[in-house]
Symmetry: C2
Subunit: 121 residues, 2 copies
């Protein structure tokens, strides 16, 4: 496969829906995904996967059971496996995710927001 660079904002301009991660890269059994959030997600956890959220544009809140952390543009957070969490965003926020290829967006929870198949863009 040809090696090409990926322009993050260019890829983000290809979709408009929320809570529907797109795959933009793959390495070492991990996926690099881009996603737009707005509103409240569902409480969930991933039993076997750590998950990284990096804010490309905007800001959001990561709710944990013990505290809520505001993540702004140019900041990232790693949620360790087994940790219940819920992202919420008052305004649209653009996020890069880095997580194992096996990761389901709603983790241990089956919800209307669950995406079993992700598009590669």
């Amino acid at each position: 496969m040809a090696i090409e660079k990926i322009n993050i904002s260019g890829k983000l301009s290809l979709f408009d829906d929320y809570w529907n991660p797109r795959i933009v890269g793959e390495l070492n059994g991990q996926h690099v995904k881009l996603v737009k959030f707005k509103g409240e997600f569902v409480w969930h956890k991933h039993e076997n996967e750590d998950e990284m959220f990096l804010v490309v544009k905007g800001e959001f809140k990561m709710e944990l059971r013990q505290k809520t952390i505001e993540i702004k543009e140019g900041e990232l957070i790693i949620i360790p496996r087994g940790t219940e969490h819920r992202p919420t965003a008052t305004e649209e926020v653009h996020i890069m995710l880095f997580e194992p290829m096996s990761t389901l967006n709603t983790g241990n929870v089956q919800d209307k927001l669950t995406k079993n198949m992700l598009e590669k863009i």
Copy 2:
């Protein structure tokens, strides 16, 4: 361990040297690193590790044996395992790296630029 967010530019302000990646996060056996490049690195490859370079600030060139790719702010490139590559930067560039914890910066090459131990910041 407490879950805390990481501010990328704040971490980058903690060091000034080139070609010396710092570890800022760990997930799923992978490291998230920050590094500043300026000048020419050494040609090398990683036999068993894919490597991702994301430009946080500035730009650089990734030389491959077949072509050279310019990577600008907000762009990323994934170099598959086994692919010879050499990053070069005319001006200082700030990069985020994602790669397995086992990854040595100069891969299969032992060089004065080799860093066997990386600092966590």
